[in-house]
């Protein structure tokens, strides 16, 4: 049998403290699971092939909980904006931001304030042919638009924040929902605040003066 000399583990000096799974020092008596929260993260990225694959691959590889991901062009044709809704603990959200920022074609990343303007679009197809007035009433209640109406189905669009979309979908259930397509959240910071800085891009250079008043 092989081994080394030295005091047995039971004879050794022991530390007093303890850490939790996130590596924070904690009171061993009062360890609690970290609470998660839902938040919106916006990233400006180079408009080049593979960026979306890099970002989505990052989320699966690092086991981040992602609720929604949208991507689209911006005012600068060289840049795209990715908007993410994630549900994570505070350290998890910090890691999401840092890991995103580390991807080379990602130019800037920012977590938006809770008052950020968030919108999503849903297209709903319901079995409303027999009661078009009722479908119309629900559509108007959610300031939606009827896109298509036939003898058996009515297709409407609703735009709003996540809560409104969820409420609208619940309201349409009475007719029987055939299919749903949702876009996921797009978001911008409220007022004069910037959603994500674009250091280095042309738009940034032009808008540099505005940053001075930011934060």
């Amino acid at each position: 049998m092989t081994g080394l000399q030295g005091p047995d583990p039971s004879e050794r000096a022991r530390p007093e403290g303890k850490r939790n799974e996130q590596g924070f020092r904690i009171d061993p008596e009062a360890a609690a699971e970290p609470e998660t929260r839902r938040t919106v993260i916006s990233a400006l990225v180079e408009n080049e092939p593979g960026v979306l694959a890099k970002v989505s691959g990052l989320f699966s590889r690092r086991q981040f909980n992602i609720e929604s991901l949208t991507v689209g062009p911006t005012e600068d044709e060289e840049l795209s904006r990715i908007t993410l809704v994630v549900e994570e603990s505070d350290p998890g959200i910090e890691q999401v931001e840092k890991q995103l920022a580390k991807v080379i074609p990602v130019i800037s990343v920012r977590e938006l304030d809770s008052d950020a303007l968030q919108r999503e679009l849903v297209i709903l197809k319901v079995n409303g042919g027999s009661q078009p007035d009722k479908v119309q009433a629900v559509t108007e209640m959610y300031t939606g638009t009827t896109l298509d109406a036939g003898p058996r189905t009515v297709t409407v669009q609703i735009t709003g924040d996540e809560q409104k979309i969820n409420d609208a979908i619940d309201a349409f259930r009475q007719f029987g929902i055939r299919e749903i397509a949702r876009t996921g959240q797009a978001a911008l910071a409220r007022g004069e605040r910037w959603t994500a800085r674009t250091e280095g891009s042309q738009a940034t250079e032009e808008a540099k003066g505005a940053y001075a008043d930011d934060d």
């Binding site: 081994g3 030295g6 530390p15």
Partner: protein, 594 residues
């Protein structure tokens, strides 16, 4: 992986190598004239100061090899692409500059994957160039087509699909620049054959990085001052030096800091050699098989200065019991590493060299830690790294490592595979100089040792001895690269610590799987000394204790590649040991304590 057998293949350029160092000076006149995408690629490498490339020919990469024909860059043809990427990675470890490896599309590229993942885990600078089918064929499942950019996306720092002969040279310059700058790592450029062959006169310059890539140099000064204030108050201070210290060339700054303020130094495995292990402040390295005194120190410390480490789980053990009384000062060039695994009470984002200089200047006084230093000295006495070898018993592997260490110069480079032999080579060799320990850490890639020895040998010129400790299982995975060492007449000595098993698995089976030795015993091993002779290398065999010193010396004296098949005690295990996810302070000294 030759695909286009009909096209003539460039002869190997090895005849250019080695005679005169002057040949390697890249005078302007020697530079490749840019006429095609492939020549732009080679020109970008030349402009970056690249002198060697490791690779294997094949159909889609042939235009790039053809451009190498006229270049002063020496190409080392390897037996397998995995050998090429490991050799290039080790070249990067020893020189600090990105090693370059080349492979064709499809199987050539996928054979690089293990090595790229290895370099990614250990933040080693590496540039991989892969051939690709012509752009028009991409997506059609053409012969030897693989989505190389897709496959390597999660294991590269950045990768590129070259889209035009006019831009491909710049892609290579940026890939080289990113591999070296900031947190180092592997990058890859995928080169479709039409892009390599297409005409261009667009000349790349030296290595570049994107304008949006700006890693911090110095850390925030106010944050450094707060952290230094805390460290100076520490009663039980310790420095944890990670691989980033070596990569930032900050070993001197580490030494100055530790010795001036009398702080014990623990390293991670990749940082072995960053601080001289024969210094009284050295506790060697911590973690699963680290020294007892290093693990006691990082467990009992009240303030840890951790620089250039990512707090790998093999270092921390269970996070809940890692340095639980300590304020953690964590300096790293990659902000994503701060508070990833262990919460940093004092985060510092910056280059290790700059941070050590700032921190040194900001220290108000040395910590008052006399009692702690006595305690640390006591642990060193209590937990010696030692072994017993019966006079008429089997050879202990630790003894072999010590004999080779004693028979070689201090600056000898040691490469290893992965397994028990790797642990003994790291524990029982005294490393005193940076970049002399070359191994696979984060990925734990068996088979790393021999190709790494080839890369290290090339990198070290003729200045340093290169030895490799390998296991029988590990060696068998890449032993075909011995043909390269013979062809290139490389002076390396490989010690196969042969226990007829993948011993680390066997050790775990004995400890945790009721000795059910499923697929871990290798009584079917070839005679490695005879295998060496078949390749044209020198083979040695050691079966008895009294043969060790003499045969080791004979193998070291042989100028050229040699293999020493050493029959070690097959029951010898690696200790100390912290079980996976365990408490570092409760490291086991024997199997009964697990």
């Amino acid at each position: 992986m030759s695909g286009d057998g009909a096209t003539p293949v460039s002869p190997n350029t090895e005849t250019d190598r080695g005679d005169d160092a002057q040949e390697h000076e890249h005078e302007e006149a020697d530079r490749t004239e840019v006429q095609t995408g492939a020549t732009a690629v080679i020109r970008a490498l030349e402009n970056a100061g690249v002198r060697y490339a490791f690779g294997v020919q094949g159909g889609a990469i042939m235009p790039v090899y053809d451009a190498l024909y006229d270049s002063a860059i020496d190409h080392i043809t390897m037996a397998h692409e995995q050998g090429a990427v490991h050799a290039a990675t080790a070249y990067g470890t020893v020189t600090g500059d990105p090693g370059v490896c080349m492979a064709t599309s499809g199987p050539g590229a996928t054979n690089l994957v293990t090595g790229i993942a290895d370099a990614n885990m250990d933040s080693e600078p590496l540039l991989a160039l892969t051939g690709q089918v012509p752009t028009d064929f991409v997506g059609n499942d053409a012969f030897q087509e693989t989505d190389t950019v897709g496959v390597t996306r999660p294991i590269t720092k950045a990768n590129y699909f070259a889209s035009s002969p006019d831009s491909v040279g710049f892609d290579v310059s940026e890939a080289f620049g990113l591999a070296k700058m900031g947190r180092q790592g592997p990058t890859l450029v995928d080169l479709p054959k039409d892009v390599s062959q297409g005409e261009t006169d667009s000349e790349p310059g030296g290595p570049t990085t994107p304008t949006t890539y700006n890693p911090a140099e110095e850390a925030d000064q106010a944050a450094v001052e707060r952290a230094a204030e805390r460290f100076a108050q520490a009663e039980r201070p310790v420095i944890l030096a990670g691989g980033g210290v070596m990569k930032a060339e900050a070993c001197e700054q580490l030494y100055e800091f530790a010795t001036e303020f009398e702080v014990p130094v623990v390293t991670t495995m990749p940082a072995i050699g960053a601080f001289p292990e024969d210094h009284e402040l050295s506790l060697e390295w911590a973690g699963m098989h680290g020294t007892g005194y290093a693990n006691m120190a990082i467990t009992m410390t009240d303030c840890m200065l951790a620089v250039g480490t990512r707090f790998d789980d093999r270092l921390t053990g269970g996070i809940d019991t890692f340095a639980p009384d300590a304020d953690i000062i964590h300096a790293d060039i990659d902000p994503a590493e701060i508070s990833k695994n262990v919460h940093a009470d004092y985060p510092l984002v910056g280059d290790a060299k700059a941070v050590f200089e700032q921190f040194h200047a900001a220290m108000p006084q040395a910590p008052a830690a006399d009692e702690w230093l006595e305690q640390v000295a006591q642990w060193k006495a209590e937990y010696p790294m030692d072994y017993e070898m019966d006079e008429d018993g089997p050879i202990k592997p630790q003894f072999v490592v010590e004999v080779v260490d004693a028979a070689t110069a201090d600056d000898t480079i040691v490469t290893t595979g992965v397994g028990q032999h790797q642990m003994w080579a790291s524990q029982y060799w005294t490393y005193t100089q940076p970049r002399t320990w070359v191994s696979s850490h984060g990925l734990g890639t068996m088979g790393y040792g021999l190709p790494a020895a080839i890369g290290a040998r090339i990198a070290a010129e003729d200045d340093q001895q290169v030895v490799c400790f390998d296991g029988d299982g590990s060696f068998l995975m890449t032993c075909q690269e011995l043909s390269v060492a013979v062809r290139e007449d490389l002076d390396i000595t490989v010690f196969v610590l042969n226990n007829a098993a993948i011993g680390m698995v066997r050790q775990w089976q004995d400890a945790f799987y009721e000795q059910r030795r499923m697929a871990s015993e290798y009584p079917w091993m070839p005679a490695f000394d005879k295998l060496a002779e078949a390749f044209g290398a020198r083979g040695f065999r050691i079966e008895e204790q009294d043969e060790v010193e003499e045969t080791v010396q004979a193998a070291l004296d042989y100028e050229g590649p040699s293999i020493v098949d050493v029959f070690i005690d097959p029951e010898e295990n690696v200790y100390p040991m912290v079980p996976s996810g365990g408490d570092n302070g409760l490291f086991a000294l024997s199997e009964e304590q697990l």
